[in-house]
């Protein structure tokens, strides 16, 4: 009797689900994380030292505890509280917060990179505070940190593989299940690796290209 069945074309749909799930959760984490990070980064660039130290300490926890521990801890915690959520929601929340912690640093340095004279000039042109933020500080500050933003986004795509620990069926987990059924680890893993590489490599090249263009 043979316990293992070889890889077949029927598995293509299964792998595709994994790919789509990886893309979904990465996109959600990057979008939500960037928006929250923009807000937090702005608050940190604007506020005084006391608020900054407090915010920094909170964000630091998110960066100093491994993502995998955060995921397990949070999903256990909400289970204990009596509000168990599906793995997708739990994963999105934690991955977004994790992204936010990194993005807020990126955006904060973006806001700080806008010269004060430029802000003053825009105020003297009759813009109010919000207009200065909307038309001067966000466009100019964010352009300066765009390469770093790409770097963080890439690391989020790669870290999204960790959401598999709480049971979300992303690419690496589908691969793992296929491996335990087919016992063909090498072929499946190389395919998975190629997929990540094909997303990540062009983006990182693009980031480097932009960086070089901005230096000149």
């Amino acid at each position: 009797m043979n316990l293992f069945t070889p890889l077949s074309w029927n598995d293509a749909g299964f792998i595709l689900t994994g790919i789509l799930n990886t893309v979904y959760i990465s996109v959600i984490a990057i979008v939500v994380g960037s928006l929250l990070g923009l807000l937090i980064g702005f608050i940190r660039a604007e506020s005084n030292k006391t608020v900054n130290v407090f915010l920094g300490a909170v964000l630091d926890v998110l960066r100093s505890v491994p993502l995998i521990i955060q995921l397990i801890l949070f999903s256990t915690f909400i289970g204990v509280m009596g509000f168990p959520l599906p793995p997708f929601v739990t994963g999105s929340i934690i991955l977004s917060l994790y992204t936010m912690a990194f993005m807020s640093e990126v955006f904060r340095s973006g806001f700080n990179s806008v010269p004060v004279s430029m802000v003053k000039a825009s105020r003297s042109l009759g813009m109010n505070y919000l207009q200065t933020v909307r038309y001067i500080r966000i466009p100019i500050g964010m352009r300066a940190v765009f390469p770093s933003w790409i770097g963080v986004a890439l690391s989020v795509i790669k870290d999204s593989a960790l959401v598999s620990v709480i049971g979300y069926m992303e690419l690496l987990r589908t691969a793992e299940q296929l491996i335990s059924r087919t016992q063909q680890p090498l072929m499946i893993l190389i395919g998975v690796g190629l997929f990540y590489f094909m997303i990540s490599y062009p983006l990182s090249r693009y980031g480097k290209y932009i960086e070089r263009k901005m230096e000149i």
């Binding site: 995998i68 955060q70 509280m81 593989a161 620990v165």
Partner: protein, 223 residues
């Protein structure tokens, strides 16, 4: 929350095991960092070399390390190499994956640091009568080390955090040990809370030590 009772005693009883796990975490990250640095120097030299073969080997290594998830590389070492009959223990597979990634990232750091030193520094040292060894020993490498010091500490912290992936291949570092302990006692929340605190403390201690060393070595003139 009202119907959950925390049982900390189990965790306190298991604290020595957690500390052993933490030691393994630090151990594997330090070791992977040291080996990673050695390979990274070779890769950086390869990436800057004129010989096409060295350049391509270094380039492929660096790009794979930078553009694939750490978990994928750990699985590759643990399950993938098994297909060739090479069965690595969990420790060795996590270690080799970390070495692979550290080498890839650090190689780019080293190359960037080296290229950020102006060529004029080299010429000036030469014109003062220094030979090649002295130029590198006294002029180029000290300046370079200052610039790559912070990226290197960041990479070290990253290694500590990423060694937590050992939990998925059954390695007995801090998170793997936590997983094992909670599976026999069912105090998942308590155990992982303690593990999170321990990771936080370890990273903070590493950063503190790095700052102290930087103050001592660079005497406050770190860029």
């Amino acid at each position: 929350m009202d119907n959950y009772e925390f049982h900390w005693n189990v965790v306190f009883d298991a604290f020595p095991q957690l500390l052993t796990g933490a030691f393994t975490t630090v151990h594997v990250s330090v070791l992977s960092m040291l080996v990673g640095i050695i390979i990274a120097v070779l890769l950086a030299l390869g990436k800057m070399s004129e010989t096409k073969v060295f350049y391509h080997i270094a380039n492929i290594w660096i790009e794979i390390a930078r553009n694939t998830p750490a978990l994928f590389l750990i699985y590759m070492a643990y399950f993938g190499l098994g297909a060739y009959g090479i069965h690595l223990s969990p420790y060795v597979s996590v270690f080799s994956a970390l070495v692979f990634i550290n080498a890839g990232y650090l190689a780019e750091t080293f190359r960037g640091g080296f290229q950020s030193i102006p060529k004029t520094q080299y010429s000036a040292a030469k014109s003062l009568g220094m030979n090649n060894i002295k130029v590198y020993r006294y002029i180029i490498l000290p300046q370079m080390f200052r610039r790559i010091y912070h990226p290197m500490t960041n990479q070290f912290v990253w290694s500590i955090l990423m060694s937590s992936l050992g939990i998925l291949v059954g390695m007995n570092e801090l998170s793997g040990e936590t997983q094992r302990l909670q599976s026999t006692s069912f105090r998942t929340l308590e155990f992982f809370m303690v593990a999170a605190v321990m990771y936080y403390v370890i990273t903070k201690l590493v950063l503190l030590a790095a700052d102290l060393i930087a103050k001592k070595v660079f005497k406050g003139e770190i860029s």
